[in-house]
Amino acid sequence: MNRFVPGIFTTLVLTLLVLLGGCGTPAKPGTPRIAVVISTLNNPWFIVLGNAAKEYGTRLGYDVVMFDSQNDPAKEAAHFDNLIASGYAAVLFNPTDADGSIANVRRAKKAGIPVFCMDREINATDAAVSQILSDNYSGCVSLGQYFVKQVGESGKFVELLGLVGDNNTWNRSKGFHSVVDRYPGLKMVAQQSADFDRAKALEVMEAILQGNPTIDAVFCGNDAMAMGAYQALVAAGKDKQVKVFGFDGADDVVKLIAEGKIVATGMQFPKLMARTAAESADKYLKGERNLPQKTPVAVELVHQTNVNKYGDYGRKEEK
């Protein structure tokens, strides 16, 4: 029996350490805490968004704790239960679902905790204090125009969509289609969701290529899917023939654009959005009430000619 005691003790200590680790650094007495709730940390772009929010919040003098919703609305709701009960001062929030996340924001608001949305919109304008959002639609209009310039006014293409419940998926798709649909010679031979996921995009693209071996281009609703699609094209020996377009401005895609392997992407600015959200929260907590409900952040087209100006999830001169 006695030989089990040290093992049980070690297990208990390790469990406590893991649980406490998940709660972040213990708050200094009197220092207000800000929660950063991110839809998923299984995507490098969102890691950058979350880390930047944490960094800017810390610089402004707050104790910042990050929560990963793992693209699961139930986990997100549990995080909100936790942060409401724990008395956080504000939430920098990247929602999992434009409709499903509204209730969480309203609960926080009712508890007197202001919420600031980053990158992803919720379908309500009276819940969050402000929403700092990428102008996905306009970014994809620019991308669509560049697509026509590069592919031509006729050809066959594939579209990989993101999560179908996310507004960004449709704002991107609609912006892109507002351009390409006006060229009758451009035919979309397949449109499938790959959930913004690289591995899924690889799988979906492989299946699409079997039925459509002669496509000219693929438009992907984010860069993780562009990487997956490109990987599938390389495996099929079609990477030189098919033009790949992404969206996000992820570092690996920007590098492939510089190497001429991917044609273009839309640069979003996760660090800028995180900084603006953190600064808005700080202003609000200090009494400022005149904050705009929505602040769109312009998306910039990145292609081979201007790629040298971009990197590290933004414009190089902004670093």
Partner: protein, 215 residues
């Protein structure tokens, strides 16, 4: 009636009742992917009606605020930051600036997608292109400073405003420009320009016109 036949009749009745129930109260709906999960479009907002009113009551009267195109190009070349502050507008955060511009020039190039104007007498180089093909983007919606993203609660409605302004320009403004734009003709214009990169977007400046006339 035999027992087997009775069971058969009961089975058919239950199946028919279940089928009728499922028909009226289906467990799920099959919808095309492009409709799945899309947020409900705003039913209250009518972009055509909104733009109709905006066009006559605000856009056309607001044209008087336009900066001279040649003056803008000179200002941007001299100091882009000062030019942005003095004449530019941006929506939210970003490096893209929109400008409301006007001018009179002589046609020196008439292409399928744009008409090239020289703004100074004796110059044969294109100094501005007036777009004459399909119009995309938000140059006119955002270039005048008359519309704010927070005036319209739904971002999709705000995008619909842009599409409708562009459609209206294509239908009402561009045909007249295409018709009158022979080389040597004089054209007066008011429109909006988008500058994302001062190094490339000034050579020449591309303008989406919403007023075009022969002076």
């Amino acid at each position: 009636v035999t027992r087997g036949r009775r069971q058969f009749i009961i089975g058919v009745t239950v199946a028919a009742a279940t089928a009728a129930l499922l028909y009226f109260l289906p467990l799920f709906h099959v919808v095309p992917l492009n409709q799945a999960g899309q947020p409900m479009a705003s039913t209250a907002f009518d972009a055509v009606k909104f733009v109709d009113c905006f066009w006559s009551e605000r856009l056309i009267p607001g044209a008087a605020q336009a900066v001279d195109a040649a003056q803008l190009v000179a200002a941007v070349q001299q100091d882009p930051k000062v030019a942005r502050r003095s004449y530019g507008r941006s929506v939210g955060l970003g490096a893209v600036y929109f400008y409301l511009v006007a001018g009179t020039g002589r046609v020196v190039s008439a292409k399928k997608r744009a008409v090239g104007l020289s703004l100074t007498d004796g110059n044969t180089h294109v100094q501005v292109w007036l777009e004459t093909d399909k119009i995309f983007g938000n140059a006119v919606r955002d270039g005048t400073g008359l519309l704010n993203v927070n005036d319209i609660p739904n971002s999709q409605d705000f995008n619909a405003v842009s599409s409708e302004i562009n459609r209206r320009i294509e239908v009402q403004v561009l045909p007249a420009l295409q018709k009158s734009a022979s080389v040597g003709a004089k054209v007066r214009f008011v429109g909006c320009a988008e500058i994302a990169d001062e190094e490339t977007d000034l050579h020449p400046l591309r303008i989406v016109p919403f007023i075009v006339e022969a002076p």
